[in-house]
Structure formats: structure tokens, C-alpha cells
């Protein structure tokens, strides 16, 4: 029963074995699943019961006639078996005497391109399939471009189904030439074309007598031999802190996965954002402290001094630190059905840091077929662009080309929680102001003290005709009457000047609110109570405005009036025109209004008159300490 293999010998051979992660990609029906099935089959990774199962399934779903359909080994989901296409990235594992492999099988179907980027993000090598009968297609170009975007350096051009073109050298040479011409701009370190047939097995794991003109490696021997740059250890040390370990008052450890470089006890390290420097005291591990940790290791460090370090901080050598900035240029791949809107607030996750961020400008999008740069105001699913990203607070990062771990990020939609985009940083744009900045002599606190108030944004949101401007006006009168310093921003004083270049599309509405938010923030810096009265129909835009100022400095006031009441009031006659179809994108009629879920204050105009509602706002400001009651002693 037992095979004559000793564990010692086995462990030894495994220890020397390296790991190669690669992806297969190509167009529908190029034979990707068949190719992987072939690799698994030929390397004896298919068990008898699995083979029996696909023999049974081949009769039901198979597309290769009699005999077993190897693609069924990897097409896992029922939905894809029925359709005969691969709709999601699947991971496969196999090993030879020389290497262990993790294969990402990525789909060629256009709407699932985002899954291809997923597979490419962790791969060292790409195997791009081309149907010898069809040559280089749009999808081939798209996938090659995504591979280069995600930093894959080595590409195999697998010219598959070579048996169906009579093993023709001419066809192969033409495809090779066409591919090399296209891929020239992509900067791959190596391109290796291999003629093969996944169906018959030619050149997959063994050479084929039908291809006497081909002298290069088989696919498997290429994958076993290729050296990929494994230089993460030689790059500057980066340790993104993932978890602060505090079992008791005597122990304070910082756990994380070393992104690059090496760490030894005694090494000097700097917290990138604060610039504080200390030394590594210990590398703590179950079973005894370590004297060395290398890129890829998950470890726990203790530091010599009590410096302020939290999840999201990055430790680096004092002499070779990452960039710390709140603005950078990046390439992004849009992955969500809903379009990207510049200025909208997303969550950005980079290494262990999550922070609000927005795409402030799309520099250009990139046509994946021609690599041409095109002007764009938004991005749709699967579109790729170079853009300027701004984060709510400064973060530490490196260019993606220098460090995959500290140069990659995702954007998360704050409404749906979907992963909206994948990004790769090109370079920083603005040095963070908090490191080298000189303390300003007059700050916001000083300005606010002078005005005897705590500054804030009072954000009135509601439908057109809800009464928000009436209430805001009345509140401002009352505040001024109490000696407070205020400013009112509304459509009337913003639309005709600052924002006169903007219309009413979703993108323009977002930009409108972004500018208003920035102006309001300046007034808050000046110590002012700023009243903003805008329909601001989208939750995400209101949150963007909220994120601009400090915690507790944004008071959202929902002026809640039923749509029917607004239509009945119709003070400017706008609803009448909108209902007649004369005004496009009119909130409540032809454009949605997302009612606030967590407003600090809800004013129901049906319940009280303007004065009573305004009183409630002033009371709230008193209660929260933004203004002082006349009875309070002046501090």
C-alpha cells in the first residue's frame, strides 16, 4: 500500500522547490480550461474518482465529441457548464519535481475582464492563449495590456489549436510577428511564443513530432525553468502594521506581513507618517524569538521606545522612506457597473490603511486596443485610466513599479461596498504637509476663539421647494442676532459665479457639491459657522462634504418635506416644467433623491413653521457647544 517515499527525502525536495504563480488568459473558446486540464492530467494530478466524474459529465456537457473533455475538470460552477464558458477566475494547484504551481484560470468573456486583473495581480508569468485560426484579437490585446499594467514581466504566447491549421509554421510566424508588434509598447521583459494543442497535448508537457520546425521549450519546461525576479528581499524594508498586539500592559507588539526587505533586532525604523524613529527590539514568534524576518514573512515586532504606532502605519528604514502624501497619480481599472464620478468619495485601501479618497481628475483613459490616450470625464466597467487620486489624510506608499505591496490599492464604493476599482500608483503629487510643515502662527482655533464660537458646516439638504433655504436664512438671522459670525452658501450665490460652468448631470452635481464643500471648509478654517443650502441629492456627496472637515464639525440637517407638498408649493414653477418634461435630471421627478439616513437633525416642515424649525437648529448648536448661551460665563 505504501509508496517507497521517505518523508525526509520528500521534505528536502520540497524545501528546494520554488513556487510559481501564473495566469492563463485569452478569448472565449481559445481552450484555456482544456489547457489547464491537460497540465493537471499530464502531471498526474487527476484522481481516479475525479476522472470518473468528468467521464460521466463529458457525456452530458462535453463539447469535444467522444472521449473526455478536460475542460470539465476546471469549469467548476454549474452555470458555466451549461453555457460552456468560464465565468470566474479559478485557482488550480499542481507540482512537478522542480516546482509547485498556482494557476489562475481567467475568463476571456469581455464583461468579466475584472476577474482577469484579479488573477494577474498575484501572477509572475502570463500564458496568453491565441487560437491559431483566429490570430491576435481585441481580447488578446486587452489581456496583454492588463498583464503589463499589473506588473507581469514574462509572457508566453500560447498559439493553441495549431493542429487545426495543419501545424503550419507560416501561421505561427505571422501570429508571433503580429503579437510582437502590438506588445512592443507594453514593456515585457520576455515574450515566448509556443505552438501547441491543448486537445492533443502537443507541446504542453511533451514535444510533438508534428512540429519538427519548432525548437523551443514545451510549455511545462518553460514554466519549470523561467526565473522570475524574486527581489522583494533586496528592496527597501516596508512593514505595514496590521494589528497591534496588547495582551497585557507589559507587552506591545506590532504584527504585520513584511512587504519588502529584511528586519533584524536592533534595526532603526521610522514611522513613515509621523517621522518618529526607534529601534526594533524583538521579533516575537511562538516557539522563540527570531533574529531575522524577510519579505513575505508574517511576524510580530516590539520596538525599543514607546512611539505612537497604529494599524495602517508603515515602518521603514530612516534613510529610505516611502512617499507620504495625500495626492498621487495612478492607473486605475474600473470594476463596477456604476460609473466612476470624479469627486465622489470612495474608501481607498492600500496595504493595511483604509481612508476616504476621491478621484479628483481623470488625466486620460487608455484605449486597450490601440493604447491611445483619450479624454474622459467618467469611467465605465472595464475601462482603464490614468488619474489623480486624493486621500482624506496623507498616506505612505511607493510607486507600484518599485513595490507591488505598497503601491497597489483598491477603491470601495461606500454605498454598495463593491470593489469599484484596482489602482497602481505611478508617483506622488504633493508632499504631505504634516511632516515638514512649519506650525502656522494663526490657526483655526485662534480664529474661532476670537469669534467666541466653534466653527461648523450646517448642511441643509432636501428637495427643491422643501423650505431649506427659508429655514437656513432664518437660522442665519438668529445667529447674527446673537453676535455669531456666519456665512450662507446656496444655489443663488454659487451657481452664478464659482460654479457657473457646471450643469445638472450627475457628474456636474458631484463637482458642484465638491466645490461648495471646499469653500465651506475654508470658511470653517476661518472660524465661521457656514450654512449650506443645497438639494445635494446623493448620500455619497454629502458624505464627501462631511469628510472634508473634522469629526463633529459637520451637522447634516434634513429638511423633510414630502414630494407632493413640494410639488403643490412649487414656488419657482420648476416642478410644473419638470413634470412636463422640460427640465431633464430634476431631483424628485427624473433624478433620485437619497434621503439622509443619519442626519444630525431632521426638520419636518409639516409639523412647524419656519421660526420654530430655525429655533430647533439654534438649540442644537447650543447643546453641542458650538455657540454659547447668554447665561454662560465667557471663557
Amino acid at each position: 500500500m505504501n509508496a517507497p517515499v521517505s518523508t525526509a527525502a520528500l521534505a528536502e525536495s520540497v524545501a528546494e522547490k520554488s513556487l510559481l504563480r501564473f495566469i492563463t488568459c485569452g478569448s472565449v473558446d481559445d481552450g484555456k480550461s482544456t489547457l489547464i486540464g491537460r497540465l493537471l492530467y499530464d502531471t498526474k494530478l487527476i484522481f481516479d474518482d475525479q476522472l470518473a466524474a468528468i467521464e460521466k459529465d463529458s457525456k452530458k456537457y462535453g463539447t469535444t465529441g467522444p472521449g473526455i473533455d478536460l475542460a470539465l475538470l476546471v469549469d467548476g460552477l454549474e452555470a458555466e457548464r451549461e453555457q460552456g464558458i468560464t465565468i470566474d477566475v479559478a485557482y488550480r494547484y499542481f507540482a512537478t519535481d522542480k516546482r509547485t504551481f498556482i494557476v489562475a484560470d481567467t475568463p476571456g468573456h469581455e464583461q468579466y475582464t475584472r476577474n482577469m486583473a484579479t488573477g494577474a495581480s498575484t501572477a509572475d508569468v502570463a500564458v496568453i492563449l491565441i487560437d491559431a485560426r483566429k490570430g491576435v484579437l481585441t481580447q488578446t490585446k486587452r489581456h496583454s495590456f492588463i498583464c503589463s499594467l499589473l506588473g507581469i514581466r514574462h509572457v508566453v504566447v500560447a498559439v493553441n489549436k495549431i493542429d487545426l491549421v495543419g501545424y503550419s509554421h507560416v501561421v505561427f510566424a505571422e501570429i508571433e510577428q503580429a503579437y510582437r508588434e502590438f506588445a512592443e509598447k507594453l514593456g515585457f521583459a520576455s515574450i515566448t511564443p509556443i505552438p501547441m494543442s491543448a486537445l492533443t497535448g502537443a507541446n504542453v508537457t511533451a514535444p510533438s513530432p508534428d512540429l519538427p520546425w519548432y525548437r523551443g521549450p514545451t510549455l511545462l519546461s518553460y514554466l519549470e525553468e523561467i526565473t522570475v525576479e524574486a527581489d522583494r528581499v533586496n528592496r527597501p524594508m516596508r512593514f505595514p502594521v496590521q494589528w497591534v498586539n496588547r495582551p497585557n500592559l507589559d507587552f506591545r507588539g506590532f504584527a504585520g506581513t513584511l512587504a519588502s526587505g529584511e528586519i533584524r533586532p536592533g534595526d532603526e525604523v521610522t514611522v513613515a507618517a509621523s517621522g518618529k524613529t526607534t529601534k526594533v527590539a524583538r521579533i516575537v514568534a511562538m516557539g522563540g524569538d527570531l533574529d531575522l524576518a524577510q519579505a513575505g514573512d508574517s511576524v510580530t515586532l516590539t520596538l525599543a521606545d514607546e512611539v505612537d504606532v497604529a494599524r495602517g502605519d508603515v515602518l521603514a528604514p530612516p534613510t529610505d522612506r516611502p512617499t507620504v502624501a495625500n495626492q498621487f497619480a495612478a492607473r486605475i481599472i474600473w470594476m463596477e457597473q456604476e460609473q466612476l464620478i470624479p469627486g465622489r468619495s470612495y474608501l481607498l485601501k492600500l496595504a493595511t490603511r483604509t481612508t476616504p479618497a476621491s478621484v479628483v481628475a481623470i488625466r486620460h483613459k487608455i484605449d486597450v486596443n490601440t493604447l491611445d490616450e483619450l479624454a474622459a470625464r467618467t469611467l465605465s466597467l472595464n475601462e482603464i485610466a490614468e488619474a489623480t487620486i486624493e486621500t482624506a489624510s496623507p498616506i505612505a506608499f511607493d510607486p507600484y513599479s518599485e513595490n507591488r505591496e505598497t503601491g497597489a490599492f483598491i477603491l470601495i464604493d461606500r454605498e454598495t461596498n463593491a470593489t469599484a476599482a484596482a489602482g497602481m500608483i505611478l508617483h506622488g503629487l504633493r508632499r504631505a504637509t504634516n511632516i515638514h510643515r512649519h506650525a502656522t502662527t494663526v490657526d483655526r482655533a485662534a480664529r474661532a476663539r476670537l469669534k467666541r464660537q466653534k466653527p461648523a458646516i450646517l448642511w441643509f439638504t432636501g428637495l427643491s421647494g422643501s423650505g431649506k433655504s427659508s429655514v437656513a436664512n432664518r437660522v442665519e438671522q438668529m445667529l447674527v442676532g446673537r453676535g455669531q459670525h456666519t456665512m450662507l452658501l446656496d444655489g443663488d450665490n454659487v451657481r452664478f459665479g464659482l460654479n457657473k460652468d457646471l450643469g445638472f448631470t450627475d457628474a456636474d452635481r458631484v463637482e458642484n457639491i465638491r466645490r461648495v464643500g471646499e469653500v465651506a471648509k475654508l470658511f470653517v478654517e476661518a472660524g465661521t459657522l457656514v450654512l449650506c443650502s443645497f438639494i445635494s441629492p446623493f448620500e455619497s456627496e454629502r458624505r464627501m462634504a462631511r469628510d472634508l472637515v473634522g469629526e463633529g464639525e459637520f451637522i447634516e440637517i434634513f429638511v423633510d418635506t414630502p414630494l407632493e407638498t413640494c410639488i403643490a408649493r412649487d414656488p419657482k414653477g420648476l416642478y410644473k416644467r419638470a413634470l412636463a418634461g422640460d427640465i431633464p435630471n430634476f431631483t424628485g421627478v427624473s433624478s433620485p433623491y437619497e434621503a439622509p439616513q443619519n442626519a444630525e437633525l431632521v426638520l419636518k416642515t409639516a409639523d412647524a413653521d419656519v421660526d420654530a424649525l430655525a429655533e430647533r437648529v439654534v438649540e442644537a448648536l447650543l447643546k453641542r457647544g458650538f455657540i454659547e448661551s447668554f447665561d454662560d460665563p465667557v471663557i
Binding site: 517515499v5 520528500l10 520554488s18 495582551p247 506581513t257
Partner: protein
């Protein structure tokens, strides 16, 4: 980490620890599903390493179908005690009252009620927003497309067509109240990796994995161990002592043994390398039809 580990296992270990810490950092109320098998043993060991010298900041949850091997239950309780970790045991009492069992109800109903529904009850009861599972992608075809962080709706449903893209090691952990994420830290491990790691790290496993003389009957081609009196014998069945072991552990009437002489980890690894069948072959619940695992997962099975 341990100097005895191969480079390949070191990489897998580091990746898993990273995933486990990420969950502890970003979720309010995580739990680790503990099924007592070898994969759970490895996952638990990784959690101990991830937070050392602290204990893992989450409890273990075992959904007990009441039909596990007795040795599994003993091992479970000893393990929790030895490591000083909170262990929650949940039994679907409603299923027990209804008399659901693999003997009376068949494997499908039993698994659905006692395992899948039991799990859902427990997750709802304690309002866990993330649950670790020891599943590996190499186990089964529909698992191969599972994310490391697998999103579940409020009803614990899994929509394979609408999975979040998962790039680099950046995991999107955002959920709304009521929604949850299943997390699979061992996604990239193979069965061989698991055993080699168990050997290298000296991790205790249930003795049922090792060959011994055990009372078995042959049913539908599978060797079923009669672990207690609840398993009725058919007229022609006489339990006989055979030298067997188990490659996977589940409810004993649904878990087929293999004949084996493998009495230690070296033997198991050697036997695996020579094996021509997959480990799930001994699981009676998978072989019903193509896509059966996918169906179970959509309904909330792990």
C-alpha cells in the same frame, strides 16, 4: 517562522496568518468554525501563531450534528482546554426534536438540517459578521472559484456570479449590518501541504486519521465504522474488525474509511503520494450529482 518549514510552506503559513489578522482587525465579531478535522487543526494552530503571545481574539464554533465520531468530540474538548480558547458548541435542537439523523433522514436532509441550518442558526444567534472556515480550493471544483473573503447576504446566500474581485492581498471586508463574510485562510493549501505542515509543526490531530483495528461494515462500496449503537445493521451486515483510517472526518455514518497501515504522519504522507483517489471520495454527501457542492454552498453550507 519555524526553521523546519520548507519555503513553500513558509509562504502559505505567512499568507494565512495575514488573512487571519486582517479579519481580527476589520470585523467587529468574528468566529472560527472548528470542525475538528486536520484542516481545522492547522487553521487553529495558525491563529495561535498569528496572535502570539496573546490568544486569538475570537471564539471557536463547532456545529455539532450529534453524529460525529466520539473520538472527535473528546479531541475537540481537550483541544479547547489545552489552548485555553472559548469554544461554542451549537446543536440544531429543532432538528434533534424532529428526529433528523443520517440513518432516518438520509445524508441530504441530515446535512441540510443539522449542518447548514445549524450553522445559520449559530451565526444569527451570536451575530457573527465573519466566520473562518478551513476549506481549501483544491478540494472541489466549485471551491476553486471561491474567494478568500467570500461575501454572504443577510440570508447567508452565496452568489457565484456576483463575487467581489480580490486583488493582491487587499481584502474588501466591508459588510452592511446582517451581511457577513466567510473567510478561508487555507484557500491556497493542498491536502499534501496540510499533512506536511502538521508533521513539521507537530500539530495534534484526531487519532482516527491513523490506521487501527476498527469495527466496519461495507455499504454501497464504502467502509462505514459503527461508532455507536445508533447505526442499525442490515440483516446481512456483521461488523468486522479491519485495519482502517480516515482521510476526512465528518458524521460517522456518512464517512467512508480506507484500508491502511499508515500509523504515523510519515506513513500518511507516503500513502497520499501514492493515492489515486481524492480525499472527498470518502464523503458520501458530494457524490449525488454534478454541482451538488455548489448547491449546498448557495444555501449556506460552508
Amino acid at each position: 517562522m519555524s526553521t523546519r518549514l520548507s519555503t513553500h510552506l513558509k509562504r502559505l503559513e505567512a499568507e494565512s496568518i495575514h488573512i487571519i489578522r486582517e479579519v481580527a482587525s476589520e470585523f467587529k465579531n468574528p468566529v472560527m468554525l472548528y470542525s475538528i478535522g486536520k484542516d481545522s487543526s492547522v487553521m487553529l494552530h495558525l491563529a495561535m501563531k498569528a496572535f502570539y503571545p496573546a490568544k486569538p481574539p475570537f471564539p471557536l464554533l463547532h456545529v455539532d450534528t450529534t453524529w460525529k465520531f466520539r473520538e472527535m468530540i473528546t479531541f475537540r474538548d481537550e483541544t479547547a482546554k489545552r489552548l485555553g480558547i472559548d469554544l461554542i458548541v451549537h446543536i440544531n435542537e429543532d432538528g434533534v426534536r424532529r428526529g433528523v439523523s443520517p440513518v432516518a433522514s438520509g445524508s441530504n436532509v441530515h446535512t441540510q438540517v443539522m449542518k447548514t441550518e445549524g450553522l445559520r442558526q449559530a451565526l444569527d444567534k451570536y451575530k457573527f459578521d465573519a466566520a473562518f472556515g478551513g476549506a481549501r480550493r483544491d478540494e472541489e471544483k466549485s471551491r476553486a472559484k471561491e474567494r478568500v473573503f467570500s461575501f454572504r447576504t443577510e440570508n447567508h446566500g452565496w452568489d457565484p456570479r456576483n463575487q467581489r474581485p480580490e486583488l493582491w492581498s487587499l481584502y474588501n471586508t466591508r459588510v452592511r449590518p446582517g451581511e457577513s463574510i466567510r473567510v478561508f485562510p487555507l484557500s491556497n493549501w493542498t491536502e499534501l501541504d496540510v499533512w506536511q505542515y502538521v508533521a513539521a509543526e507537530d500539530i495534534p490531530v484526531v487519532p482516527l486519521y491513523f490506521a487501527a483495528e476498527r469495527p466496519v461494515v461495507t455499504r454501497d462500496g464504502a467502509l462505514i465504522m459503527r461508532d455507536d449503537e445508533r447505526l442499525p445493521l442490515k440483516a446481512d451486515e456483521v461488523p468486522e474488525m479491519r485495519r482502517v483510517r480516515f482521510r476526512t472526518l465528518g458524521c460517522y455514518p456518512l464517512t467512508g474509511a480506507i484500508e491502511s497501515d499508515a500509523t504515523d504522519l510519515d506513513d500518511i504522507i507516503s500513502e497520499m503520494l501514492a493515492s489515486t483517489t481524492s480525499e472527498r471520495q470518502g464523503r458520501l454527501i458530494d457524490s449525488d450529482e454534478a454541482g451538488s457542492m455548489e448547491k449546498k454552498k448557495r444555501e449556506g453550507y460552508f
